[in-house]
Amino acid sequence: MTNPYAGLPEAAFYRTAVADREPMQIGGLWKPKFPIRPHHAIVTAGSCFAQHIGRALLKNGYRWLDCEPAPRFLSAKERQEFSYGIFSFRTGNIYTAKMLLQWLTLAFEEATPRWAGEYWESDGRYFDPLRPRIEPDGFESIDELEMSRQATLAAIRTAVEKAQVFVFTMGLTESWRNRDSGLEYAMCPGTGAGQFDASRHEFHNHSFAEILKDMRQALAIMRAVSRRQKVLLTVSPVPLTATASGEHVLNATSHSKSILRAVAGQLASSRKDIDYFPSYELISSPPFRGRFFADNQRSVLPEGVDFVMRNFFADQQARFGAPVRRSPGAGRRPRRRMAGRAEDVRCEEELLDAFASR
């Protein structure tokens, strides 16, 4: 060996792994640490890109857990409108590590934190600062808001208890919080719900150290519930809509994603049960020339999601072999027809008794 690079595989070199290839032939970015099989119970949460992962897993026959399922009789549009079936529980987007920690604290810690009691009111409707858009028109009362939140917390508990793989997509470093209580909001008050008050609300851009600490605390809560659970981290490739950092939004995006990527890498390199899946790289890297972004240069197109998920399944297969897929509907018992015939006879008798005698 003349130097440490001699004899390294093609994937180690930019020219052979990237520059000489058709972009869509680029692959093998992920060397998964643990198998993720169709029978594994998988939970997805986090930034908006996580919803694509959950949906793709479900479409491919994987056991994606929906721990707060939509009620029957809602249309697909209504399910979407009320944020059912987007993540494994109805939290809406969890953009930051701090928000994940807040949700897990509410779900699993016995004492209710001081910050948990804040609600936003507008025109007689109430909005949950942890998920202001979960009900498009808000809740009709604080009681209703609270009961709905309790249902979501129960769903989180179930999800964490049952999940064999917890997929968390990290989205943002920038956040808004309550100066006094420290409650971190899902979105800046006044942008969609609530009212901004500079004396009460402050901007905060989380540092690497803060995010790492919050993630470690969040993971500790989950680990206390399930020691066998695996965690798969991803970073959302979706750029910031806006920044309050004072920087150009491109710089702010680069700053934010770099920190999130670094935290994910740090966590994945430190524990066997935490892995990083490079969806960010598969969408955002230079060889793809932004082809997976919609015209707004932010939203990820379906072909981008497909590309990411193709890589996900291919890299799993390369490392662990082809999965045995569950056939759709396997294990379901055929539906029994209701005792309709007997009921029909009774209905006939009922009507004949009443009407035949005249």
Binding site: L74, E348, L351
Partner: protein, 272 residues
């Protein structure tokens, strides 16, 4: 003269301007017919005509171009129920179309809601319940017909859903304790009010099953079950006393917001 007539305190519309009511439905028409035949209600001021068919035939009644027609196999049954030779039902021939039962099994909706809301992760906001109620109601063909008739303005539409199953103590249903009854009661009340609101937005006057006939929120009191219901296992059909209560409810609704006899119901049409 029946007790209802003796004690009747409600003013009856003048006989010469009878409100024409078509009672449309399935085998649940039976208890209404019995109530009228037994004189348990005072129908003065109302010209009541039945139109419908029981289960298998009821499924063969179809609304097309504003007229409900039976498939050929159901014609005989429709004529039997109607008794006036009306083979086709034009809602515009009546002032009021009263849907009785007609497969809108409110008990199933309420039970679904109760089960869902009793789960730790099952809470639904009122806004979601409203959407669920609308989705559920519109799965029933008769409800869609009722909405279509209301929108057309052909007649005023009033709907009484399929009565709750009769409490028999044999079907696994138990009387809930006070705490459970309270929780269940809140959910059931939410279910009824959401159905009423949804129907109202569709131009339909919805009559929920009166509390006096209900036990445990989701069952009809045994005293209103059809004759021998427990032995026959017929928890579905109700007796004449129940029918009388339903008709009194209908008359109450019509008196609270009177319908002009002989005039087509234009409220919904005007709103559209």
């Amino acid at each position: 003269m029946c007790a209802a007539k003796k004690n009747c305190s409600m003013p009856s519309p003048p006989a010469d301007k009878a409100i024409r009511i078509c009672i449309y439905g399935d085998s649940h028409l039976g208890c209404l017919k019995q109530a009228l035949d037994q004189g348990l209600v005072d129908p003065r001021g109302y010209d009541i005509e039945f139109w419908g068919a029981d289960g298998p035939y009821f499924r063969q009644l179809r609304l097309q171009d504003g007229v409900i027609r039976p498939d050929p196999e159901a014609e005989e049954r429709v004529l039997l129920v109607n008794g006036r030779g009306r083979k086709f039902l034009r809602p515009g021939d009546f002032d009021v179309m009263f849907f009785m039962g007609a497969r809108l099994r409110a008990g199933e909706f309420l039970e679904f809601l109760r089960r869902r809301m009793s789960r730790s992760n099952g809470f639904l906001s009122r806004a979601v319940v409203m959407r669920v109620a609308r989705g559920w109601a519109n799965r029933t063909r008769s409800y869609r017909y009722a909405g279509e008739i209301a929108r057309s303005g052909a007649a005023r539409v009033v709907y009484f859903p399929t009565p709750l199953p009769t409490f028999s103590g044999r079907d696994g249903a138990t009387q809930p304790g006070p705490q459970e009854a309270g929780r269940c009661g809140d959910v059931v009340a939410l279910g009824w009010s959401s159905l009423s609101e949804v129907a109202g937005s569709d131009g339909i006057d919805f009559i929920r099953q009166p509390d006096a006939t209900v036990t445990g929120g989701l069952r009809t009191r045994a005293e209103f079950g059809c004759a021998g219901f427990a032995e026959a296992g017929d928890l579905v059909h109700k007796n004449a006393r129940f029918g009388a209560i339903v008709l009194e409810q209908l008359f109450g609704v019509l008196e609270a917001a009177p319908v002009r006899a002989g005039a087509q119901h234009r409220r919904a049409a005007a709103a559209n």
